[in-house]
Subunit: 448 residues, 2 copies
C-alpha cells in the first residue's frame, strides 16, 4: 500500500485534480491520498492558505473582509465547476467558513487554526467527491475519524503516540481514503494545525501508521537535483538517495519538502518517493534507508549562506576541563542553537546562523564569554557560507578531500573552514559568501 | 636582563657546570640563573630527582635506604671535586638530607616535597659557590628570599599572585643571582614543589616577575625542529616561532620543554629562547609573541597517536537545542576531557585521548549517552592519530589545504578527519595510526 501526498500546486485547480485522478488510476497501491489546500496556479497566484490567514486576521466583532472571503470561495468554486461537481459543495465550503467565524470570533488562535485547516479540509472533500464522480470507491476521512490525535497547542501540534495504533486501522478499510493534511484533533476536540511542512507531516505520520510500502510525495518538480539549479545550469537528477544524504542536502534549503516532517517514515524505514504531478512518468527521486553504492562517492552539493563564526582563544584551553561545555551552556542559556564547533588546541569556534544572533544578544554574549570564561581573545566573523559535499561511502574513499580542495584552490576560493570526518556522508567547507557561487560551480565540475 | 634556566642535563656534572659558567661569561645580560637538579650524564644514567624520590619512599620509622642516600651524595661529591670546590659543601648536602628525613619522617607528602626540592636547592648552592670561585659577584637566593610564594599543596604548587611584586625586587640586586628551580614556599613556611615541568615554571615566573628582556632555556638540543626528527631524517630547524605555533607543535610531544610552564612569560610577551648548553654558539629557537612572516605559511608538522573518536548520530540532531552541551556534560561528569568535537548535521564526534577512556568508563559513558540523549547510533573508533600542520598566516593563504590533501591522497593515506578554520595557525588531519609515518613524511615533502 502507498500513501500518496499531493502538495498545494498539485491540487490547485480542476486541471490538477484530473492529473491526480490519473495518477491514482495508474497504480492500485495508491490507497491513501493526503490532500493540501489549493496552492498557486501560476507564479503570482496567492495560496488559499494565505488567503485564509488574511481572512482570520480581518475578523472583528462585527464582521470580516468580504472580498477575501469571496476570493477563497472562488478558488473552490472554480474547481467544482471545472469538474462538474455538485454546486452544493460550494455552499458547504461557504457555510463551514461562516460557522468557523461565528464560533471562534473571540478566540483568535483557534479561529486561525480552524480557518487554516479548512483549506485542506474542504479540498479533501472536493477530491473525494471528484473521485466518487469517476466511479471510485472512495471516502473522505477526517483526521479525527482517522485517529490523528495531537497536542492542544494552536499552530504547533505535535502528534501523540497513541495515534499510530488508531491510524493502523485505516488498513482495514476498503476503497480509496482521502485525508486532509496539515491538522489533527486534540483530546479536547479542537482542530490544531501542524507547524511548517504541515501536509508533509500528515503524510509521513499516516504512512508510518499504516506501515506503507512507500510514501509518495507529489509536487511540481521532476526530482531532487544533485545541486541547486539556481546555482548550476541543468544539474543532474538524483534517482535515489539515503535519508542521511537527504538530510545533508536539505541543509541547503533547495530540498522540495520539509525534512523534519519525515521523521516518522525514517524511523520505520519507509521509502519516500518525490514525484512530479505534472510529469508522473518521470522516475522521480526515491529516498531510502540504504542504497547500492554505484562507485560515485559524491551525489550532491548543497550550500547555505548566512552564517557567522564566534571565535574564542585562550592559552591552554585544551587543558581546561569543561571549557567547551561552559561556552555552549552560555549560548543555550541565551537561547542560541549552533551548527558546528570546530576547535584547535587553544581556540574554539562556534558556527551560528546569523539570524539567531540579533537584538543586542551578540554584545551580551561576548561580554559573558569574556568574563565567565576569561578568554584571551574573542571576535565574530560574518558573511560565511557553508558548502556540504554529500555522499554515502565518501568517508572510505581516498582522495575525495584532495579533489575538492584542489578545485577550490584553482578557482581561487579562500577556504575559511573544513570539517570532515564526523559525518560519514558529508564534508563541509566554509567560504566567504562572495565565493559561494564560484565554489559550488567548481565543485560541481570536479565531481560531476 | 635575561633569566637563564639550565635543565638537568646542563648541570649534571662538573664539565657541564664549566659550560654554564662560559655561557654566563659570554653575555653580561645573564643576571638570573635558574638551576635544575643534576640530570642524566649519559643515556642510562638516573636523574638525581628520581634517586631522591626513591630515597623518600624508603624512609621508615627507623631508617632509610643508605645505598640510595650515598648515590645521591656521590652526584654532588663528583661535581664538588671536579670543580675543586670546598668539601664542606658535600657535608652541607649530607646534613640537609639527614635533617629533612629526621624532621618529616612521619609526614610522607612533606618529606617527598622537601627531598625532591633538595635536588635543585643543593645544586643551586654548588653553582653559586662555583661561580664565586671564578671571581663573579654571585648570590644563592632561596625561593623564599626571592619571594616565590605558592599554594600549600604538596607536589602541585600554584604560584600566588603576590609573588610577582616580590620577585620584581630582584632587579635591584647586584651581581648574578642563582635560584633553584622546581619549588616555592607556602604562607605556612613549607617547601612545596611544582607539578610537571618544575624548573621551567620557576624560570618562567621569575622572568615574568623581573620583566626580563628574554627567558633563555638551555637544554641539550640545538633547536626546535619543524617536524619530529624520529619521523623524518634531518628535518629543518626553526629559528623563530610564535607562542601559538609553539603550542600547536607541542601537541605532538616532541617539544623540548613544558608549554604549560610558559604561561607567565606568554602573558607578558617575553621572548623564550631555546638553546643548547653543549653548543651555545648554535642560534637556537626563539619563541615570540609575533614574528615576521617569511612567505612560508607552514613552519611545522606535529603528530600524536593514541586518540579515539566517539561518534554519535541522531536524526534531526542539529535542531535539538543543547544536544552538544549535554553530551559534553556527560563526559565532564565522568571526568573525561576531550580534544575536538567535529560535527555534521545529524552527528557529532568527540575526539578523546584513549588513555582517558579506561577502566570500564567507556561502557558506562556509552550507556548514559544512549539513554540520556536517545541517540540513534553510537560507536567508538580507535587507533587514530592526529597530525597538525602549523604556521601563522596559513588561514589567509589559498591552497594550503589542497597541497596537504593532494600529498596525502597520492601517498594513499585515508583521511579520517579534517579540521581546519578554527585555529588561525593550524590545520588538523586525522589518520589511522598505521598511516602516521607515511602521512608526516609526505606532508614534510610537500611543504619543505
Amino acid at each position: 500500500m502507498k500513501v500518496v501526498k499531493f502538495g498545494g500546486s498539485s491540487v490547485a485547480s480542476g486541471e490538477q485534480f484530473r492529473k491526480v485522478a490519473n495518477i491514482i488510476e495508474r497504480d492500485s497501491q495508491r490507497k491513501i491520498v493526503i490532500v493540501s489546500a489549493p496552492g498557486k496556479r501560476y507564479n503570482d497566484d496567492v495560496k488559499t492558505t494565505d488567503l485564509l490567514i488574511t481572512l482570520a486576521e480581518s475578523v472583528t466583532t462585527d464582521g470580516y473582509d468580504q472580498e477575501i472571503f469571496n476570493a477563497i470561495i472562488k478558488r473552490y468554486e472554480e474547481i467544482v465547476r471545472d469538474l462538474s461537481l455538485h454546486t452544493e459543495l460550494i455552499d458547504e465550503v461557504r457555510m463551514s467558513l461562516e460557522d468557523a467565524i461565528d464560533r471562534y470570533r473571540h478566540q483568535q488562535a483557534r479561529l486561525l487554526d480552524v480557518l487554516k485547516s479548512s483549506g485542506e479540509n474542504n479540498n479533501a472533500k472536493l477530491m473525494a467527491a471528484y473521485l466518487a464522480s469517476l466511479g471510485y470507491e472512495v471516502s473522505y476521512v477526517s483526521p479525527q475519524e482517522a485517529g490523528m490525535m495531537v497536542t492542544d497547542e494552536p499552530g504547533n501540534a505535535q502528534i501523540l503516540p497513541e495515534s499510530y495504533e488508531l491510524l493502523a486501522k485505516l488498513k482495514e478499510r476498503s476503497g480509496i481514503l482521502v485525508i486532509p493534511g496539515f491538522f489533527g484533533y486534540s483530546h479536547e476536540g479542537h482542530i490544531v494545525t501542524f507547524p511548517r511542512g504541515g501536509s508533509d507531516i500528515t503524510g509521513s505520520i499516516v504512512a508510518a501508521g499504516v506501515d506503507a510500502d512507500e510514501y509518495e510525495n507529489f509536487t511540481d518538480v521532476d526530482s531532487i537535483y544533485c545541486v541547486n539549479p539556481l546555482m548550476v545550469n541543468n544539474p543532474c537528477e538524483l534517482k535515489e538517495l539515503t535519508y542521511r544524504e537527504m538530510r545533508e542536502l536539505a541543509y541547503s534549503g533547495f530540498s522540495v519538502f520539509h525534512d523534519e516532517a519525515l521523521q516518522p517514515v525514517v524511523e520505520k524505514g519507509i521509502p519516500v518517493c518525490v514525484k512530479n504531478t505534472n510529469r508522473p512518468e518521470a522516475p522521480g527521486t526515491c529516498i531510502v534507508a540504504e542504497r547500492k553504492l554505484n562507485g560515485q562517492p559524491v551525489i550532491g552539493i548543497a550550500s547555505d549562506n548566512g552564517f557567522c563564526s564566534l571565535n574564542v582563544s585562550k592559552y591552554l584551553m585544551n587543558r581546561e576541563l569543561g571549557f567547551g561545555r561552559r561556552l555552549l551552556a552560555i549560548l543555550e542559556d541565551e537561547g542560541i542553537s549552533y551548527e558546528h564547533t570546530p576547535s584547535g588546541i587553544d581556540n574554539m569556534s562556534v558556527i551560528i546562523r546569523c539570524e539567531r544572533f540579533m537584538n543586542g544578544k551578540e554584545e551580551r554574549i561576548m561580554q559573558r564569554i569574556r568574563t565567565e570564561l576569561e578568554v584571551d581573545q574573542i571576535h565574530i566573523e560574518r558573511d560565511l557560507a557553508m558548502i556540504m559535499v554529500v555522499g554515502e561511502g565518501m568517508n572510505r574513499a581516498v582522495g575525495i578531500a584532495a579533489k575538492a580542495t584542489k578545485a577550490l584552490a584553482e578557482a581561487g576560493v579562500n577556504l575559511k573552514m573544513i570539517n570532515q570526518g564526523s559525518s560519514e556522508v558529508s564534508m563541509m567547507f566554509g567560504v566567504e559568501v562572495n565565493d559561494v557561487h564560484k565554489a559550488v560551480n567548481c565543485l560541481y565540475k570536479a565531481y560531476f
